[in-house]
Symmetry: C2
Subunit: 421 residues, 2 copies
């Protein structure tokens, strides 16, 4: 069985050796000997769990830098116009580019919401990182479209049964305001019956709260609860505009909230994410980047820093969200949400590991590794990435990188020429 | 004379050639031929002006990661305890480390406020980037100390006359609340007589505004104006808590404000920096990182992104601070403040140039270079840095880098052992 030995690596406050056997962290101890193992000298490196990006639209990486400094509605119109011209090639290279970026920034798993589930899963196999792929239901109240979406979901679910172990299938409903009540109930039931995760956009903007009161006489969270949609299988992207009652409800059902700070700031949706309150209520708090249309990159380390800075700033409390809490948000809490035996450097866990190069200015001096990782470094400090026991990046080199960049750029050019023709 | 030819480089929206002769951008045109010039193939690179970091305490890089998640007052007590143990060696390696980091992140000039002006200037000569070094006056109302500070300023000024052209001397007063009225007036007069810049911490926290009303019956800005301190030579770090009248006053005097968003967020000082209002009033708006004690790094590209995101978020306007305005804050406005003929890629300007590598995920697709630079990339995209016509980093390699890292780390260890003994 394939073995990797991380020699003299800094992890969890000490230096030790880590032996990866197959896809598992088999042993953590000093002075491990493993003849035949591939040895990586980690005397200037630290091992951390690979990041888990809990809210992405990976193929939208193809829209990176397409439109900037624009208000939400005209921006959305433009993005939808681009997306209408997405074809199989765009999905493929968009996913390849997204996976390449995630690998380069230390992410070993992402929770995606988009179309082209099979293509995304194929790309994860090629690139070697994990993906949770959800077919995104969206009907805007059109009953004919709603029926089609149900059939498409069933089809995608059947199709997903041949996915490799790197991939997981999930249900997603775009949002309570874009999916009819019937399909909300259907998605909830389908997820429960098949033990699938349910991914949804929830309470991203203040306007949604106002509209919900008008349409349903309650908050979006209360509306979801009334439909029987909430459970600990639900992953609620954004969860930004929540009343104390909403927070209580999310906590009671053990819902996972995904904070997307950079996207929220850039589109000016808000920033007072109730992180402490959700945790106190029993909800699970995780982190995502959102798609590259709104947030421009998929960099989880950057997202961790911005999330912590904003919590400290709006709460007027520099002690808010200390580093040990913060780092769990980037991996451990997410693994829990996905039912994935990863998210910690611990014997018996899946070997999803980022090796951090500390031989640079960002980690000098290095009084506090975690502080330097979050507040000083940027994601170029990720030297090597191991996912499922396989090395997917080594010394910042990823197999086929140049080909992906060239093909994605060419594909983007063709996409734009279709839009402008 | 030394010549560098940047072949086929992307700049200001087009591809062209740039010829650097001596320390000047001599020519920008297509198909330049320059036999004998060092040629850099820039077909995958862009040229931007080197960043100018307008508020640093460079040697404090030695306190990076020393204390985290702490309220302002206990944090300051701890930092002061560390600083009391700074010696010549700490200043030297602290400045070396800071310059190395600035070079790696595309900064060609920094406006510093600290002690050890001569050491800092020597380090700038060794590292090849520009520094504005101000002796920081601080007396806490102690008249004996105030007299000493005046003499120290005179001494430092005399000493600075032998500085190389990379270095500039400035006056600084720590803050209105830590410097007595006599020395505030003295500093202003001294700066005017000797045509020096005057660097000051101004309106960083809400408490300062409350204390100023108690002590002087007016705002800190009004107090400074009453002492004749304000002019277009004044560089006011933070300028965060300003009344409409303060903004008017700063505009009328053409004061330069330095926004330090990451430091302000992390210490929870505030984030509603009146950027548009200051510009509209005629003040000059620039950007800084503050020292690594509070902000943890000296990364201007990161600071630009955070500054733009926060302006959009608290103003609830995604159109706020568009990219062309934002990028000027990072270089052109700063060059103007310092009276430095840099900050733009233009014939006749000083050759302070950062070459950006676009052959990576951050710039794929590349519909909008500036958007990708600020919102997608991190500072590892800076491939090559030219300052004063000399290449100080090439392919991300800086001469003597490992020696600086090793010595700074060893020096930090000795510093901590002095503190803990």
């Amino acid at each position: 069985m394939n073995e990797i030995l991380l020699k003299n690596v800094y992890t969890e406050g000490r230096r030790t050796d880590i032996l990866v056997r197959g896809n598992i962290i088999a042993k953590i101890a000093d002075g491990i000997e493993a003849p035949g193992a591939e040895v990586i000298d980690c005397s200037r490196m630290a091992a951390i769990p690979g990041f888990i990006n809990m809210h992405t639209h990976a193929a939208m990486t193809m829209t990176r830098s397409a439109k900037e400094d624009m208000k939400l509605q005209p921006w959305l119109q433009y993005i939808w116009k681009i997306e209408a011209h997405f074809d199989e090639e765009t999905l493929y290279w968009g996913n390849k580019l997204a996976c390449l970026e995630m690998i380069k920034t230390g992410t070993t798993c992402f929770n995606d919401m988009y179309w082209g589930v099979r293509t995304a899963a194929r790309v994860c196999d090629e690139m070697g990182i994990r993906g949770v792929h959800s077919y995104c239901m969206l009907d805007n109240g059109d009953m004919e479209k709603a029926e089609k979406e149900r059939r498409a979901l069933l089809h995608a679910f059947e199709d997903s049964k041949s996915f490799s172990s790197l991939n997981m299938f999930a249900v997603s409903v775009h949002a309570p305001y874009t999916v009819c009540e019937d399909n909300m109930r259907f998605a909830a039931m389908f997820a429960e019956q098949n033990n699938l995760l349910l991914h949804i956009h929830l309470c991203e903007t203040e306007q949604e709260i106002i509209d919900a009161q008008r349409d349903w006489g309650c908050s979006p969270v209360e509306y979801c609860e009334s439909l029987g949609l909430l459970s600990d299988r639900v992953i609620a992207a954004h969860s930004l505009w929540l009343s104390p009652r909403d927070i209580e409800i999310m906590g009671a059902h053990g819902v996972t909230a995904v904070h997307n700070i950079n996207s929220n700031l850039k589109i000016a949706s808000g920033y007072k994410f109730p992180m402490e309150e959700l945790m106190a209520a029993g909800a699970n708090v995780t982190l995502g980047t959102d798609g590259c249309g709104s947030s421009n990159n998929l960099d989880m380390l950057e997202a961790l820093k911005t999330a912590a800075l904003l919590q400290k700033a709006w709460r007027k409390n520099p002690e808010a969200i200390p580093l040990n809490t913060l780092l769990k948000i980037g991996s451990e809490n997410a693994a829990k949400a996905l039912g994935l035996n990863a998210g910690k450097i611990e014997e018996g866990r899946l070997a999803d590991i980022a090796l951090i190069d500390m031989n640079n200015v960002w980690f000098t001096p290095n009084y506090d590794f975690e502080a330097n990782l979050v507040y000083s470094a940027n994601s170029s400090c990720v030297d090597t990435l191991i996912c499922d026991g396989r090395i997917v990046m080594r010394g910042r080199k990823v197999d086929g990188e140049q080909e992906i960049l060239d093909n994605a750029a060419a594909c983007a050019e063709r996409l734009m020429s279709r839009i402008n023709s």
